[in-house]
Amino acid sequence: MSAALALGDDALVLSHRLGEWAGHAPVLEEDVALANIALDLLGQARVLLSLVGDEDELAYLREERAFRNLQLVEQPNGDFAHTIARQLYFSVYQHLLYERLAAGGGEFADLAAKAVKEVAYHRDHAEQWVLRLGDGTAESHQRMQAGLEALWRFTGEMFQPVEGLDDTGSGLDRQELERTWLAAVTGTVERATLTLPTGPRAGAWAAGAGRQGLHTEPFGRMLAEMQHLHRSHPGASW
């Protein structure tokens, strides 16, 4: 069950971050696109969390230490390039993961098969923007490179085994997943005339920290905002 929680929390938290962009995007088309991606992810989160329990109890009444999302997805939006770097890293990973889960025939196969179509679009959106920002102007190139660098250290966690996912019949091979991810991201980054970051790929704690409920500081504030109203009216329905 913790696998559904891990995947559900990834989608929930990234959806929330993308929701913060509403009305702030560089062009109207991006207001539409980012909201669209956020909605897809929220839809996935609701299905996954419902496998575990009540979606609202899980979203609104757990504290920071009980969330199992990757540290990558909780990172603040930063500028548009930071948001796109986060989207590139995560959506390539999620696309490859869901493709494998869909093919693996395990517990998440049906869900992954549905979500993979959405995620393919998210991935394309991120890759197209990495190309435009990387190979756009000097400023956008520099900002895109900075975004890739800043978030690089959170990418290692994606390839740590998840209890209930890697140890069952999902047929998931994390090493193969990581190789494929790295090749795909490298390809996009190079086409965008950017440089793949070289630093360590571990979070503030160690790879796997978010999955153990060890998060970064901005996450607590995000949850405070997300949960405030729900927690202010115990037992109410909305």
Binding site: L12, H16, G19, E20, A22, G23, H24, A25, P26, V27, L28, E29, E30, D31, V32, A35, N36, A38, L39, L42, G43, A45, R46, L49, E55, D56, A59, Y60, D79, F80, L131, R132, L133, D135, G136, T137, E139, S140, R143, E225, M226, H228, L229, H230, H233, G235, A236, S237, W238
Partner: protein
């Protein structure tokens, strides 16, 4: 087609649908007189005016102004609701709200596209919005202070917008009328969702009920103001009605809205903040109290609670996004070879087509 520069500051009131025409003026050119006669005949016959048709400059200018104002209202209108996305109290409500704000961006896009058929551009219109030379609906200068405001906006603000906009589906200008057909479908859906949100609160805990009532108390009068000034003070309406851009007067639409809302409020178990509302047997309509037009004028002048905040956020998003738009343009310039050059390239070095 001549570029339209409808720069004059409008006295128009509600960007959501209100029209204020300038008086049609045509010079003494006999060819123009013939074209004007054809135009008038087309309008009289309820034909649609299309982008390539001749139209009086004042008709064009009025439409650009009204459609721009309408588009601006959609995108400024994202702000008061987006204000609650990150705090929505359930995942279902959060999804509904995100979808709604996304729809509003989409409506903005339709309307800018429709306005562009009149010879202006989205960039030009946005520049005017940011410079304060074009307006958006006064309603969006009110703050969303509680979650219930999201419901009140759906029920009352979208309800008023729909009352205004449904007649626009028959507007004489084809592209605008067609945009409105699509927009009204989605707006009706949002309005029902807002109503349903308020109903859940009204039937919820005491605190939730109080939250819903407070929101209705704060949004009722501003919603009535969305229909614009009273008919005797709305000097430009006559021309817009003659051109069939507008189909009903401000007061007619406002009355229609009140008549719709009274039973809905009862069904919601909420009261409207107007002790003068009562059924008038003789008129077959509801009487209602006097609107505070001073407040309305103040909001229009920029002195509403959120005028400054709304336009500042809008400008900030635009300015902070400039480098992204520049990047997209630079990338497109690098990777899109003009057709003629492409042929030359193909002849010289076919292998450079990697970016096609």
């Amino acid at each position: 087609m001549a570029a339209v520069t409808a720069d004059q500051k409008t006295q128009s009131t509600s960007g959501t649908a209100k029209a204020t025409g300038t008086v049609a003026g045509t010079a003494g050119d006999p060819a123009d007189a013939a074209r004007l006669a054809a135009f008038d005949a087309a309008v009289a016959a309820d034909d649609r005016i299309e982008p390539r048709d001749w139209m009086p400059e004042a008709y064009r200018a009025t439409l650009v102004r009204q459609m721009a104002q309408h588009a601006h209202s959609e995108i400024i209108g994202m702000q008061p609701e987006a204000n609650w996305i990150t705090r929505a109290p359930s995942l279902r409500r959060k999804a509904i709200l995100m979808a709604k704000v996304q729809d509003e961006a989409g409506h903005g896009l339709y309307l800018y596209s429709a306005a562009e058929t009149l010879g202006t551009s989205r960039e030009e219109l946005l520049d005017k919005l940011h410079a304060g030379r074009q307006r958006y609906s006064s309603i969006f200068n009110y703050p969303t202070l509680t979650w219930a405001d999201v419901g009140a906006i759906g029920w009352l603000v979208d309800g008023a917008a729909i009352t205004n906009q449904v007649p626009l589906c028959r507007c004489s200008y084809g592209p605008y009328a067609r945009a409105m057909v699509r927009i009204c479908k989605e707006e009706s859906f949002h309005q029902r969702q807002g109503y349903e949100l308020l109903l859940a609160l009204s039937r919820g805990t005491e605190a939730q009920h109080a939250m819903a009532q407070d929101a209705v108390d704060r949004w009722w009068w501003p919603s009535l103001m969305m229909f614009g000034p009273p008919d005797d003070a709305s000097s430009h309406s006559e021309q817009s009605m003659a051109w069939k851009i507008k189909r009903h007067s401000n007061d007619e639409l406002r009355q229609r809205f009140v008549d719709i809302c009274v039973p809905q409020a009862e069904a919601l178990g909420l009261t409207l903040p107007d002790s003068d509302i009562r059924w008038n047997e003789e008129r077959g309509q509801h009487d209602f109290g006097a609107i505070d037009w001073t407040e309305f004028q103040e909001v229009l002048k920029g002195n509403g609670p959120c005028n400054e905040q709304r336009i500042t956020q809008r400008r900030k998003a635009h300015e902070e996004g400039a480098w992204v738009r520049d990047a997209a343009a630079a990338y497109a310039a690098k990777h899109t070879t003009p057709p003629v050059q492409q042929t030359q390239h193909a002849q010289q070095a076919p292998h450079v087509e990697e970016t096609a």
